[in-house]
Amino acid sequence: MIFLLLTVFALAIFLGFELITKVPPTLHTPLMSGANAISGITIVGAITCAYAEVSPVAANVLGAAAVFFAMINVVGGFMVTDRMLGMFKKKKA
């Protein structure tokens, strides 16, 4: 299992490099904040833990706190990225 997962990890890193080798400077900030929002994907893990099957209160509390912070990251990140990109777009019209 570990080698399968490591393979997936390595391929994903490689894919990431391939996808965004050349980024125009205008997009540096939006790319960063957009990517940052994506790192909020950890919310999936947070939800999983908040309902951890063997669920002592400690795990529930930690999981819920994780949901809270991941949600800030996700919602805030995507919205602020959209706001920025909206400003860029306005200009071209």
Binding site: M1, I2, L6, V8, F9, A12, I13, F17, L19, I20, V23, P25, T26, L27, H28, T29, L31, M32, S33, G34, A35, N36, I38, S39, I41, T42, G45, A46, I47, A50, Y51, A52, E53, V54, S55, P56, A58, A59, L62, A65, A66, F69, M71, I72, N73, V74, V75, G76, F78, M79, V80, T81, D82, M84, L85, G86, M87, F88, K89, K91
Partner: protein
């Protein structure tokens, strides 16, 4: 089974959407839809995760309340933040990503391990003596050790042994049931998540100037960081491959170690970022961005979820690419940035200059600048961090609109590391409605300075210092700069002659074609604008 397949399929769809989203984010025309793809992917992933929770005893109140509260904070932060405060905002979002991954790892540990199990050895022994209770007991053990719903007599005795061993603390079941990828992922989630969290907070403090933006250095710093890193590595290795989950007081041994690792990683985040000064922040922010992705990816190893692994890894790669671009733009290695201390004030060994060292300084005024602007055909604005501090982006745009209406060619020269985060100047000027076409990258604009009548430097310093070109001993040597000194005239709007981040004198200020306009960028430009309008 069908629900499980549906959830897996949803995760796969989310992976595809993330890939397309990130790809689209890298191109100007598609960037906005790229963000929407990623947003959609996230929505799908969250719904799928909630759906998979359906089959368990879910604490919906916890999840719902936490999710809504987080979303509200996110919305408020994203809609309220001023564009000048974007670097701080990104730092805080990075931090919240880091803490989320850290908490997920801890929750997973607590949920699966030691005190998380309500059963001690005696309970299990009872269960074994009374087979009718076995299924009940095993139901509460982590997945991978049990067959849910299996009839008691059909449960493999080896499983029961394993379960007992777990409770005895001989074999943390995380390791046994899930394999080394899980336990290694878990400790790395804690480590990277913790470093991202506290590192981002220090970066936030520096960016918002709540703490000194200068590099903070002290003797033995590198040795200390090295020791801390070594300790963290040893602890991680021990936790992943050696430590037992034997109970020790309120927590298990493994949990105590996790607490120590958390503290250690938080300390590391602070000690790694404090020696890095303000102008190196673009590198730090993108690196922390990379870390927050890697931390999420590591939680994917804990939960054996490829969606987390893939999307986290892609974010990690994106952050690394930006980091590399930033380093290249400063002609410095990542290592030298991370070692920090660049332009440190407390060290005393760096060259420090002040106003007395400058000769041939010629001052000018806003009125004179207005007069100069009256008779030229091309002007280049060179924005830097000072522009953001002075919040002068709107008045610059007003001035450039006025100039453009008088048939003066207006452009902006954007150095890749101007400001405090990658692309800082672009965002700032976009907010003020500066046309995108007027922003010219360094490589394109440098050949044009020779034919430029006037360059106006707004709060930039090191990125226009010709010492980078002709002084091999300068700390700036080799850094690509904007060749503003080649334009016919240069006006530098600056509060004082204080040195830039690198702590070196700017030779540009002494050149014959340079005039200094001392003052606040916003005020000076406003006066100049009023003067031009009056004529």
């Amino acid at each position: 089974m069908t629900l499980e397949h549906g959830i897996e399929a949803a995760f796969l769809l989310a992976i595809f959407l993330f890939i397309f989203g990130i790809k689209a984010l890298g191109k100007v025309r598609t960037a906005r839809s790229g963000n929407t793809y990623a947003w959609l992917a996230m929505l799908i992933a969250i719904v799928a995760a909630l759906a998979s929770a359906n089959s368990f005893v879910v604490n919906w109140y916890w999840i719902g309340a936490a999710g809504v509260a987080g979303a509200v904070v996110g919305v408020v932060a994203a809609t309220r933040v001023a564009m000048t405060a974007m670097p701080e905002m990104v730092a805080l979002f990075n931090g919240s990503g880091g803490i989320a991954s850290l908490l997920v790892a801890l929750a997973a540990l607590w949920g699966w391990n030691g005190s998380g199990l309500a059963h001690d050895k005696a309970t299990l022994n009872d269960a074994i003596l009374q087979p009718q209770h076995v299924a009940e007991v095993l139901k509460e053990l982590p997945e991978g050790l049990t067959d849910h719903g299996a009839a008691p007599e059909r449960i493999d005795p080896a499983r029961i042994d394993a379960a007992i061993a777990v409770v005895e603390g001989k074999l943390p079941q995380i390791r046994d049931s899930k394999g080394p990828s899980t336990s290694l992922g878990l400790v790395l989630s804690i480590l990277i998540g913790g470093i991202t969290l506290s590192g981002s907070f220090v970066a936030y403090g520096k960016l918002s100037e709540k703490i000194s933006g200068n590099a903070i250095v002290f003797p033995g710093q590198h040795a200390l960081n090295g020791l801390l890193l070594l300790a963290a590595a040893v602890l991680c290795g021990w936790m992943a491959f050696g430590a037992t989950a034997a109970p020790m007081g309120p927590l298990s041994y493994l949990e105590w170690l996790a607490v120590i690792l958390t503290v250690l990683s938080l300390v590391l985040g602070v000690t790694l970022v404090i020696p890095i000064g303000g102008a190196d922040m673009p590198v730090v922010i993108s690196l922390l961005n990379s870390y927050s992705g890697l931390a999420a990816s590591m939680t994917g190893f804990v939960l054996q979820n490829t969606l987390l692994i893939v999307s986290g890894a892609m974010v990690g790669a994106a952050g690394l690419i930006l980091t590399a671009i930033m380093c290249k733009a400063m002609n410095r290695s990542l290592l030298s940035v991370l070692m920090g201390g660049f332009g440190a004030t407390s060290g005393g060994d760096g060259p420090s200059e002040d106003a007395r060292d400058y000769k041939n300084i010629k001052k000018t005024t806003s009125e004179e600048l207005a007069m100069m602007l009256d008779g030229i055909s091309s002007v280049v604005f060179v924005p830097g961090y000072g522009l953001a501090v002075a919040q002068a982006q709107h008045v610059v745009r007003e001035l450039s609109d006025l100039l453009a209406s008088r048939d003066i060619q207006v452009t902006y020269a954007i150095h890749p590391v101007a400001g405090r985060m990658p692309g800082h100047m672009n965002v700032l000027l976009a907010e003020a409605n500066v046309p995108y076409e007027q922003l010219i990258e360094m490589d394109q604009i440098n050949p044009q300075f020779k034919t430029t009548d006037l360059s106006i430097i707004l709060g930039a310093n090191d990125v226009v210092n010709p010492a980078a070109l002709d002084e091999p001993e300068s700390p700036l040597a080799g850094m690509p700069i904007l060749n503003v000194h080649e334009s016919a005239n240069v006006v530098v709007i600056k509060r004082s002659l204080s040195p830039g981040y690198a702590g070196v004198k700017n030779k540009l200020f002494e050149r014959d074609n340079t005039l200094m306009l001392f003052g606040d960028a916003k005020g000076a430009l406003q006066e100049c604008l009023d003067e031009l309008k009056a004529n």
